[in-house]
């Protein structure tokens, strides 16, 4: 982290960048928040640790409109999102100074709490400089510990890899934290009977409060104005008036990002109701890979997304009945 | 009574044979192709119109019913997929069913054969008598 701060100060000081986009210390040890730093002094509040899960690439849409370059810290998986935004002309490469920051897996406080650890006052072992294998946690009930892996976000268990896809320089070490089967959960649902599937999604989606956090955080869901807020489809905000709107919202949202979603998992991370929203996106990714061939959104800037592409020999829609 | 009986039989023949006599364009290729044509009193192309006109009683009384070799050349070559051979086959089955069984058993057939009997006839004999 110190190396990162030092380098950021350098770049700010010599005018290479006009601001730094990173994370600052939050009110709890486990909730750093995305922040701009415009002066060398303000960087004292800069933090980078295992809880800095937020994908900062989406902030670059607005940052691209600002005067001067913005130094942005991107983790390996965030670079896919940045590439996808580049493909869609939403961010300006020339306005970004990308520091690829090392990542050894990001933590999910909810998961840690689920292990029974309550009243947390401090956490060590998530500084990203160490091995990141055990978390030492101070609580009002005394010292507790938890393995780093057990506290990791779901998405880190199916990590896309430690390689940054786009950057100006790299600071810090990364590791591949994948130890799970990416599509296992999707496959488990696919294998259910229609009744079970329906019950599963009904119980999950009925938790939705239409807070739009998923939409607001999603780097693919970056429309200036969402169809659900416009009059174009007669579908403007009808939260909780008509629950079909909610289901439609999540299906359409997933459809709109299909082929463009990098599976960054931010939607599930931020959902206050804990709905596993990534299961929608991942279903599309699985289908696309199986039916149209492997495609990784954001792996390469400028690639053509599967839904704005076709092959004359594509499968017929009836393939759905055969699967 | 006999009308409805006849009608029933025509329907049954359509059902058993799986053919639609209305598809016939009366080209006569079946009769042109039939190796047993000269033995028959009702000719293959007529089978179709007998069924189409619900005139099955005459058809089941005909000699043709038992002269057809079931070689199915007509079925093979019919351009309209009407299958006269299947129709006569079905008519035969109708008779056999009404009589309540075969009047020849498979065991009897070998004694009736000689070395000259073509294999095709053998196959069709089984097809015809052993239901």
């Amino acid at each position: 982290m110190q190396e990162l701060i030092t380098r950021a100060k350098e770049l700010l000081a010599d005018g290479t960048v006009a601001r730094v986009l990173g994370w600052k210390i939050g009110d709890m040890p486990y909730n750093p928040e995305p922040a701009y730093f415009e002066t060398v002094e303000s960087l004292d509040k800069f933090v980078y640790n295992g809880f800095c899960g937020a994908n900062l690439s989406k902030y670059m849409i607005e940052a691209s409109k600002l005067e001067g370059k913005t130094l942005v810290c991107l983790k390996p998986c965030d670079t896919y999102s940045f590439n996808q935004l580049l493909t869609e002309h939403r961010v300006d490469r020339d306005k970004a100074y990308i520091i690829g920051v090392g990542c050894k897996g990001k933590l999910d406080i909810e998961k840690i709490k689920k292990t029974g650890i309550k009243g947390i006052t401090a956490i060590s072992g998530a500084e990203m400089t160490d091995a990141c294998d055990t978390l030492e946690i101070d609580t009002i009930y005394g010292k507790k510990s938890c393995s780093y892996a057990d506290g990791m976000l779901e998405r880190c268990h199916v990590c896309k890899g430690k390689e940054h896809k786009i950057y100006d320089e790299i600071i810090g070490e990364s590791r591949d934290t994948a130890d799970g089967e990416r599509f296992a959960e999707v496959a488990r649902i696919e294998a259910m009977s229609p009744e079970e599937k329906f019950e599963f999604f009904k119980s999950e989606l009925s938790k939705c409060i239409r807070c739009n956090a998923c939409r607001n955080v999603c780097p693919a869901c970056s429309c200036r104005k969402c169809v659900f807020d416009s009059t174009k489809f007669d579908s403007a905000q009808k939260a909780n008036v008509d629950s079909f709107e909610e289901k439609m919202f999540h299906i359409i949202r997933a459809f709109h990002v299909a082929g463009r979603c990098t599976d960054c998992g931010e939607c599930s991370r931020v959902c206050p109701q804990g709905i596993p929203l990534h299961l929608f996106n991942r279903k599309f990714i699985k289908d696309i890979n199986e039916i149209y061939g492997e495609y990784v959104a954001g792996a390469e800037a400028g690639s053509r997304a599967p839904l704005v592409n076709f092959d004359t020999e594509d499968a017929e829609p009836s393939i759905v009945n055969e699967r | 009574m006999s009308m409805s009986h006849g009608k029933n039989q025509a329907e049954q023949i359509r059902e058993i044979s799986g053919t639609n006599p209305l598809k016939c364009m009366k080209c006569g290729k079946c009769s042109a192709t039939c190796p047993a044509f000269n033995e028959m009193d009702i000719k293959p192309h007529q089978f179709v119109s007998y069924v189409a006109n619900n005139n099955v009683e005459e058809l089941v009384k005909s000699e043709s019913l038992w002269k057809c070799l079931s070689c199915f050349a007509c079925v093979e070559r019919c351009p309209r997929d009407v299958k006269p051979g299947k129709i006569i086959d079905a008519a035969r089955q109708l008779v056999v069913r009404e009589r309540g069984g075969s009047y020849l058993t498979a065991d009897e057939i070998p004694e009736l054969l000689d070395d000259e009997t073509p294999q095709q006839l053998l196959v069709s004999a089984y097809r015809r008598y052993k239901r």
Partner: protein, 662 residues
């Protein structure tokens, strides 16, 4: 809020017999926006259109719904009527209560209920319609004709005579097509070459016609009035400007064993060849697969002997790109493959031939120099059997379900010509029906029977069995005699079904022209627009549209030419105003729309926008309405819903959905 008038048509009894039109009027009158509803016998009639005008005037209508036949039939009629009455034509919607309702339902309650729902959907849509104004696009005053047979030649000549430039693209080395292979033509028995050759020469000499032989259409883009076409001019290996057509090269060519395509494989040709003596252009081509020089590098005899120095082994294919306002498809036909018809022994005996092969046998320039002889032993036949409907009218996968239309007449012609020239030859024709609709056609057939003594047998042939003595045993039926006939014939001629040229599917795809399951191109309307494809600017000439004989082909070729001339005579075309349009406040500039646009109609511009007080420069999609054809692919690719299709907007379609599901 719109002021909508609903007009329900009886269409005589076509609609009124199954839809209670009075009830529809009664129910629809209370729909939101509807201020007027009435029914009438024939809305499309002048009196019906006048009713619309009166209602517009008296009720101050702003929108119109006509419940009638398909919009594909009379949408244009009612739009014009609306325009005359002073309403924007795009404020008219049609509820299709005939083709989609009265004609397919029997129960009057059910049909009425459905008609009401369809009318409601149309009313809901009109409520959201906005006036639209068509744009204009230019017309390139040049036509392309694909196929250089009699259909293509006639179309080209008629267009050229009207004063427009026209190009013919012909796949083979010469124009002329199937007709050039025929000996005589029915029903007048004039010599095919004698009437065709002058037309070929005329086309070649016409100042407005350019002929590309040995060439194929490779790529088509654009739209009516403005097509861009790539034509591949295959290498002939002969410099056409230098070649004098002396024919010395063909005489000397040592590779002489290639089956002649022109003679249907009955004779041979050399590797350097013109397909027939009257070929146009009279410039040979080198068949590289047969040419010794190309295969081994040795030989080169033709180059040595050519006094004009026209032979050029290094010639390459050439791509010509040209713009056209209209395209005519005249790709013609071929006979079907007979491999699946074992019973006629076509592949077993050289004396079983197709009728088209007989044309070559009868032709003085053919493989037998016009002598009627058996191809197996050259002997004169005494007994000839013709078999009709070989592969036509078949419902199985061996043949074609349609009637090939020309066979009855050409068989009568063949029978007559043989009996005329060789009175000692017996001719028997096995037929299912003799179909002779056409001027002087039945008379022609009767002459064959009455004057020339051709033996017509009502029945079919079941099999043809080649005999050890070289004869052909024909087993057929005589249905009128109720007999089976066994006949020893010397020759059997098969009236083989015809099918569209194999390449037509590829061409249809390039032109986005509609094609049916038998590979015939679909006409815009079976009765009223028989020479136009539903795709604007594409016209049909000859057998590509359906089986037809020479007189019919020539008539249709002329008709297609008139349609082309009618198009080329215009300086501008009004374009479909139902084009896509991006809402600049919603557009993300993400390029999804441009990725799916088949016309390259979408570009992006950095535009200064004022988004509720926020002024900024944004990358915004701009649709070129002259290029946009209104498919709507972009509207679905657009995640923000910024891209919408005028005339079929998201809200319009959703309102129809709502009205139907109400």
């Amino acid at each position: 809020m719109q002021r909508i008038g609903v007009f329900v048509c009886h269409c005589g009894s076509n609609i009124a017999a199954t839809v209670d039109v009075k009830k529809v009027v009664e129910v629809i009158a209370s729909e939101p926006g509807v201020v007027h509803a009435e029914d009438y016998q024939y809305m499309c009639s002048e009196a019906g259109q006048e009713k619309i005008a009166i209602a517009v005037r008296e009720k101050k209508l702003t929108g119109i719904v006509v419940c009638s036949c398909s919009p594909r039939m009379h949408e244009a009629t009612f739009r014009k009527a609306a325009e005359r009455a002073g309403i924007n034509p795009y404020m008219v919607e049609i509820a299709n209560i005939r083709e989609h309702c009265s004609w397919i339902h029997k129960d009057i309650n059910e049909a009425t209920e459905k008609a009401v729902i369809l009318a409601r959907a149309a009313v809901a849509k009109v409520n959201l319609n906005t006036p639209l104004t068509p744009g204009e696009s230019r017309v390139t005053k040049r036509a392309l004709v694909i196929g250089g047979g009699i259909a293509g030649i006639q179309t080209a000549l008629d267009i050229a005579d009207a004063g427009y430039k026209v190009d013919i693209v012909e796949k083979t080395p010469s124009i002329g097509g199937r007709m050039s292979q025929l000996d005589k033509t029915f029903p007048t028995l004039d010599c095919s070459a004698c009437i065709l050759t002058p037309k070929m020469v005329e086309a070649a000499a016409h100042e407005n016609i350019t002929i590309y032989t040995y060439s194929e259409v490779e790529k088509v883009s654009g739209f009516v009035g403005d097509f861009t076409v790539d034509i591949r001019k295959k290498a002939r290996f002969i410099d056409a400007d230098k070649c004098t057509g002396c024919g010395a090269c063909q005489e000397k060519c040592p590779s002489k064993k290639t089956p002649s395509e022109f003679n249907r494989g009955l004779g041979t040709r050399t590797a350097i060849y013109t397909p027939f003596a009257q070929a146009i252009p009279n410039v040979p081509v080198i068949d590289t697969e047969a040419c010794i020089k190309f295969k081994t590098g040795k030989c080169g005899l033709c180059q040595k002997i050519c006094a004009a120095g026209a032979v050029d082994y290094t010639q390459k294919d050439e791509i010509i790109t040209e713009k056209y306002g209209a395209i005519v498809v005249a790709t013609g036909f071929d006979t079907i493959n007979l491999d699946k018809y074992d019973e006629y022994a076509y592949n077993q005996s050289p004396d079983v031939i197709t009728s088209l092969e007989l044309e070559r046998v009868m032709n003085a320039a053919g493989p037998t120099h016009g002598h009627l002889e058996r191809l197996s032993d050259g002997k004169a036949p005494k007994e000839i059997v013709f078999i009709q409907c070989v592969g036509s009218r078949c419902s199985d996968d061996r043949g074609k379900p349609y009637c090939s239309k020309i066979c009855c007449m050409y068989t009568a012609k063949h029978a007559m010509l043989i009996r005329d020239k060789y009175p000692d030859v017996n001719v028997t024709v096995f037929y299912i029906d003799v179909r002779t609709p056409g001027k002087n056609f039945d008379e022609f057939y009767r002459r064959a029977v009455e004057q020339y003594g051709v033996n017509y047998v009502k029945g079919q042939v079941g099999k043809v069995i080649p005999q050890p003595n070289g004869k052909l045993l024909v087993q057929g039926s005589d249905l009128l005699d109720n007999k089976q006939i066994l006949k020893e014939a010397d020759m059997v001629v098969l009236a083989t079904a015809i099918e569209p040229n194999k390449d037509v599917r590829k061409i249809a795809t390039m032109l986005t022209a509609s094609i049916d399951t038998n590979n015939f191109l679909t006409e815009a309307h079976a009765k009223l627009r028989p020479v136009e494809s539903p795709t604007a600017g594409i016209f049909l000439s000859g057998v590509v549209q359906g089986p037809k004989d020479i007189p019919e082909t020539v008539s249709q070729a002329g008709a297609a030419a008139v349609k082309v001339v009618g198009l080329l005579a215009k300086d501008k075309l009004t374009t479909n105003p139902c084009t896509a349009k991006a809402d600049e406040l919603l557009c993300n500039g993400c390029s999804s729309c441009a990725n799916v646009c088949p016309y390259g109609a979408i570009s992006y511009e950095d535009t200064l926008v004022n988004d509720h007080g926020i002024r900024e420069t944004r990358r915004i999609a701009i649709v070129n309405s002259a290029l946009c054809q209104g498919c709507g692919a972009c509207t679905v690719a657009c995640p923000s819903g910024a891209m919408d299709l005028q005339g079929f907007s998201n809200r319009q379609i959703l309102s129809e959905v709502d009205a139907i599901c109400r």
